[in-house]
Assembly symmetry: C2
Homo-oligomer: 304 residues x 2
């Protein structure tokens, strides 16, 4: 009889509204977000208005569409929140689903090389197994693992030796170190520093960089690691292909930090090890603790 179905009083924020708000903020457009979400533009307008009324704060400036301070703050929460919401569903579904023979491995571009021997082991064990390897950007990787779109993820990053990677908290995931390699700065061959045996990161703050957050070590990471400003990007690289990035470095468009022996693909550039600060390129295998069957065997082989 009472039935005041106001969701707001007891629950935090309505994720349905949150999802629309995020879409609008990302596309910087109500209409574009509406198309993406499969709603009318009017509905999205009402959703954002409802969220603003619920929170008692304006979240977006209109025309042009831009987050306010409160809106930006909400976005910080919204993305991991929606990720976990999906992760929760996927995690329960995984328990109900039968263990399948299909295996999907996700890997960030610099982590793929860590896959070699373990994959060989598993394929010897299961000869007619079809393995899918999917190369993904850093941010996408954890989302795919959490939502069970991939069974095992290989994440990478630059950290102090034997530190674990800082992964966004998308639920109870298991992460174990697989590989650590030294870091190197990629330089064009005729760069003044190309002959050096080692370089300190701090000496490169003023250089021109390529920001390749999904492929190389992100510039923000360099700044916090060096404890200094600088490391400005002249080019932003959004692909996930290492070769393309190497080519850009070779053509003199900027520097990038990668694991030292990137393999044979280093034609046209010079890699100089980073000696200071003490950082390594670390690869971790990330997967759900409830993994079973062949995927679990692969995860075990990776960590072994």
């Amino acid at each position: 009889m009472i039935g005041l179905g106001a969701i707001s009083d007891t629950d935090g924020v309505d994720p349905h509204l949150l999802r629309s708000f995020v879409a609008v903020a990302r596309r910087r457009s109500f209409s574009a977000a509406a198309r993406e979400l499969g709603f009318t533009q009017s509905a999205v307008s009402q959703q954002v208005a409802a969220l603003e009324a619920d929170l008692g704060a304006v979240l977006l400036n209109r025309r042009p569409v831009t987050p306010t301070r409160a809106g930006a703050r909400l976005l910080d929460h919204a993305v991991p929140l929606l990720l976990r919401l999906d992760a929760a569903r996927a995690d329960v579904a995984r328990l109900a689903a039968p263990p399948s023979a299909r295996v999907v491995v996700g890997a960030s571009p610099l982590a793929v090389t860590a896959l070699g021997p373990a994959l060989a082991d598993v394929r010897r064990e299961h000869p007619d197994l079809v393995v899918t390897v999917r190369v993904l950007g850093r941010s996408a990787l954890i989302r795919e693992v959490a939502t069970a779109a991939v069974d095992v993820g290989l994440a990478d990053g630059a950290v102090a030796p034997s530190d674990s990677l800082p992964l966004p908290d998308a639920g109870p995931l298991r992460a174990v170190g697989v590989l650590e390699r030294p870091l190197a700065v990629l330089l064009p061959p005729r760069h003044p520093l190309a002959g050096r045996a080692g370089l300190r990161l701090a000496d490169l703050a003023a250089a021109g960089w390529i920001d390749a957050p999904d492929t190389a070590v992100p510039l923000g990471r360099l700044r916090t690691a060096a404890g200094a400003e600088g490391y400005r990007a002249s080019v932003r690289y959004e692909g996930t292909d290492v070769g393309g990035l190497v080519a850009l470095v070779g053509a003199g468009h900027g520097l990038a930090v990668l694991p030292d022996p990137t393999g044979a693909a280093l034609s046209g550039v010079t890699a100089v090890p980073v000696t200071e600060p003490r950082l390594v390129h670390r690869v971790e295998a990330v997967h759900s603790p409830t993994l079973a069957g062949v995927p679990a065997a692969l995860a075990a082989a990776l960590t072994g």
Copy 2:
């Protein structure tokens, strides 16, 4: 016209249902949960049924009410999820609210001592300021900080020297180290080991312990730190009062690990430093990055 208001397809899980599910699982009763939530028992039954239908899995065994495997898994997600949902609301609200003169400091029992000098500084600066100090268990502390029920939280834990505390991810909180002290085992005065100058944790696995997860170092933490089984509890202590715990140790009910100079309150027990593994008792100040006014000054004074 289409209006198939099915929330499930695109959004993860409905937090409204989640909240009810958690309440039922905690109270092990639909009726008790209904009273707690302000619903009829029928409504809660329908909510859990809806959640189970949505996820395609039975979450609770009835009579007695007990989580299934899938339900337990969902609970792992649900608690931090609901926390973040509340945190998001609180965080936006904090931006809109005017900076108030009232300050609430939350602290776990072993962290209160770290408050001393910084609090004195701030009270000298603001003579007619009313400061509330609230002693909370570990799990409650982060929740209170995230939901802005307290302005600054002092969390504590046992970690390797200069490591930061592992805090549940309740959003973008700032945490800075305030204090590190050696750890000690509290022993009753006539305990065979009471005369030793130092003890190795590994040698105490078989002792009888008091599990005081909200007050002393939790036994689970000791196990992972020592990398060994054992450390079984003979008594579980649920208060947040250090004196009471000390008294229990003194009466021979079991051992506990605390920071070494716990202060003058150590009558009736003996504290022996833990020499192996290398662990310290660390206190961190945790607060929102958007803190302003007097609370921000206190946070700064704490970290200074």
